[in-house]
Symmetry: C3
Subunit: 410 residues, 3 copies
């Protein structure tokens, strides 16, 4: 008889979502919502509900808005609008049962929640009310320096920050710097950024800018200056290969765990150039320094698993993928991701951005996919139940706590 023990443990477990973004706080009309459903664009004549993630939203999100499963898109959006963003976001974020969010604050084309606001919305209602007090205004009787910090420790949910290094570099350029001073200015700005309270990691979107087929060596100063001169003259996003290498090596110097987008994303990606195994030489050169967390990975989850199996510093998740493939395929992707991955090396992330549905869908797909995978192995006698429960807790929370050195309570 099929057991439920693994599912029960996962249902209770407060997840550590080690990589996500903010939620849009304003109401979303249909075009706005549909645009956020896809890594593509909203195309005339195509509804983005006509996708695996759209089906998952109608199936698994509608009931949280008091609708029947599979509610039509129109009804779904009407109900969503009627409830309003605060109520909708609260319902999905609380349902996700995420205890810790590590929030990449460097991507926010829309006005979105701060990390503290995200954690507040995810907390239980009573807690959330308290949390809604504006940042910087300490509760009575609390001295200012003890006021709720960036990491916003609250009953039920905590948020930490992940600093996106490309955003730091681009801010340095925007403030004005000459090419000779770029390397120092970027390093100083990055150090400032990571010293803010609540920062637990840095992130790079090198995948979007150059891909990983880069010279792995730390670039000489003269090369960095020359490349900076070109970039500062031309403007635009940081997408120069030398400056990208310099950014990755600066991450090594910072000493915090580095999150790397790999695999699936929007059409800025050249997918074949973001297979993480292109990082192998760089991983050799940086062995013994910082943890490297491969995000998303699909369709290269086996390649990412290989790296996690042979490099001490490498970890992976299948975030973003989980809600896009939906609960019906999350298990299949996790099965591949776990074929050879050491059990300390798999983490959970939603990589949710914009719509709160994705925090819930990511968490649901992860809990169900991993739960089914582990419980079936237990039922078949292939895995001991205590081992399965430990593996579930590790993947869902403990591995991230260890990598990011999060306090035990949270």
């Amino acid at each position: 008889m099929a057991g439920r023990a693994v599912h029960e443990v996962l249902a209770e477990l407060e997840l550590v979502d080690h990589h996500c973004h903010g939620v849009v706080t304003a109401p979303l009309d249909r075009p706005g919502f549909e645009a956020l459903l896809t890594e593509g664009d909203a195309w005339p004549g195509f509804s983005t509900f006509d996708t695996p993630v759209g089906v998952a939203v109608r199936r698994h999100c509608a009931p949280l808005l008091d609708l029947a499963p599979h509610a039509p898109a129109d009804a779904y959006l009407a109900r969503r609008a009627a409830l309003g963003p605060r109520e909708v976001n609260g319902r999905f974020l609380r349902a996700a049962r995420t205890g810790v969010f590590c929030v990449d604050t460097g991507f926010a084309p829309h006005p979105v929640t701060t990390p503290a606001e995200l954690a507040a919305a995810a907390a239980a209602p009573a807690v959330a009310r308290e949390a809604m007090r504006p940042e910087g205004v300490p509760p009575e009787g609390v001295r200012p320096e003890a006021a709720i910090p960036q990491e916003a420790v609250r009953r039920g949910a905590v948020a930490y920050e992940v600093v996106r290094l490309e955003a730091v570099a681009e801010a340095v350029a925007a403030r004005g710097v000459d090419a000779d001073g770029y390397a120092d200015a970027f390093r100083a700005a990055a150090l400032d950024a990571v010293r803010r309270p609540g920062v637990v990691a840095v992130k790079s979107v090198a995948a979007y800018r150059t891909g990983f087929d880069l010279d792995p060596a730390r670039p000489p100063d003269a090369d960095v200056t020359r490349a900076a001169r070109r970039w500062l003259a031309d403007g635009g996003r940081l997408a120069d290969p030398v400056l990208t290498r310099h950014l990755l090596w600066t991450a090594v110097d910072l000493g915090l765990p580095l999150q790397l987008h790999t695999g699936f994303g929007d059409n800025d990606i050249r997918l074949h150039r973001v297979d993480p195994t292109h990082l192998t030489d760089w991983l050799h050169l940086t062995a013994g320094t910082i943890p490297v967390l491969l995000l998303h990975c699909w369709p290269y989850q086996r390649q990412a698993a290989y790296l996690a199996a042979v490099f001490e510093q490498v970890y992976l998740d299948v975030g973003l993928t989980l809600h896009h493939v939906g609960p019906v395929r999350a298990r299949a992707v996790l099965e591949e991701a776990l074929e050879i991955t050491p059990f300390r090396k798999l983490l959970y992330s939603s990589d949710a951005y914009g719509v709160s549905e994705f925090y819930w869908l990511g968490a649901l797909a992860f809990r169900r996919g991993l739960g089914d995978l582990l419980q079936d192995r237990v039922d078949a006698g292939e895995l001991d139940l205590p081992d399965a429960l430990r593996l579930a807790r590790r993947a869902g929370a403990d591995n991230a706590r260890r990598v990011y050195r999060l306090p035990d309570g949270h």
Copy 2:
């Protein structure tokens, strides 16, 4: 209890096979039949029946020839010979219940059916008899210009044509052209070809000639002339990278949907160079122009799905793969292909060539694989039945009708 509704709808649905070839019309001896079973060659000491597709033929084709499932290869071939090609081809083509064939007429190392003959063979017997009337001889009382056109609209089955651009270019070279005139001559010939009645798309086999790791930009005229000079002097197939780019950009100018072979094929392919994500830069440059249909895709079905999810103009199928992996694995391949593919973007094709068994096996593998996938999701409450039925109809027919602007009746 497992439902059957999706299977029933798919069983009734007249498929649009948006990419296939002709059927050999002459009798086939054992070496001839075995050679057509494989993308390899017939090797001494190996029977090509000793393959997944060979097992599928014996299992699923033998009964249509009045034999027991799993009939031995010798018995199968003897019965096939006894019935004769017209009867055999008619049985398999009718069993496939394909309503529309889009036929690539540019590959025919054997004498094969014309598109009209293919459609005729696939029609119900009474219809087929009428259709067997020679082309160009109108039925009594019908004026010549209303005679059955290339697209051969008939009760039960219709055929359209897909123009293979490499064949057009090679015919231009064979007719004689100088390098300066090549670009204009190729364009004129391609325009002539696509203006023939019943032509709905063009196709390129760039995958076989150069792979997709090409400069994505439209090549300057001078480069085309220089490359044409080399090619016209050296002879042989069109396999020059500049001329291949020129061909792909000519396809853009023609304005019809472009079918691209990707992934699995014979050993002319360098598989790692036909991962369709190598087309990303070209897809950016040609966005907003023509639909691009990625054919076959295996083992890159997830990569193709990514492109379909992030580029408005990209569609995919898993043709050729379906009969080679057989009904036992078609679902697994479709599951991967559908992980993130928008439901408007999956099409059906058999990519059958030569033996009529493949039209039947492709259709069977598609109907069963997609039917099982969708029905299981319905049974599990993950997908609403009306959505499942719509998805089945779209993938099996409606998506192709839309892309190729086929008339509704057919």
Copy 3:
């Protein structure tokens, strides 16, 4: 009702393990054992038992050491130590029911069994005792030249040797040779090596040294000399692309089957450069010469299958992968490997090295994975039982016997 016939045939079948290594003969402490469990290293704070293969060891190996399934790692290692290496190795090797080992003798960082010792340990106890007689001391009444040869034909298990060509080349360099003489000296040494009794194949680890993105042509003598000059001056492993090409072409000249490591391995690999489809041009150039056996392949098992389907000389296995993914995922990997692979082209190997657990786990995962795959197809009416049994015997033994021209008895 699910049948068992395929499993029964596979359980009885004496496997041909066409690629494996020796077993460590000395006792192993915990660090030593844990280091051998992984393709990575033993990392502080991580136990390599915390991996899929570690779970498989505790589940499927513990019972052979008289422990309960899922015995804790400490208990497992204590029992292993108490029994001693000879007893432990004997239990696992006999349980594997391997009739023939083809042993790559070129990788042995630890003192390991010779091929003959491996075969002896795998034989039934009475046979093993006889086999333990020192090499070179013929049993009474047997003339010396009839003494047990390298291939050590014994009741129950036989070992053949696979010559690793990089080891031959490096031995030539170590003995001292000048650059001009390198090509001849390497060829002579390779010929000597393959003429030893019991040698059935050669192997290259080009995957580890350069990857497969090589100029496929046989390098001109002058290039070889120049490259040899550099290498002989610089020392180190043979990792020069020209010398690697020369080595692969020397393998063609030797005329024996060539085993090629592809895909998964330790972190010396750049995984994206060992996708075997990079060998396509070389396979065209060498068609009609030697059989080429693609080892391991994961995660490129579909790519390897493609090559096996379109090149007469190509074969594959999923060794190494089988024990690392364990019995719970072996079927999934085999399903992909078999999607289009002709049934003559799949072989079994364990690629076991060091710990005897891997010979047993590889054999178990293969038998169970292939057995489940085939039996389910038989039960579903998709495959005829006699065909399934033939396919099982071929993959488990007959295909290897044919490629390596092994005598029928063994």
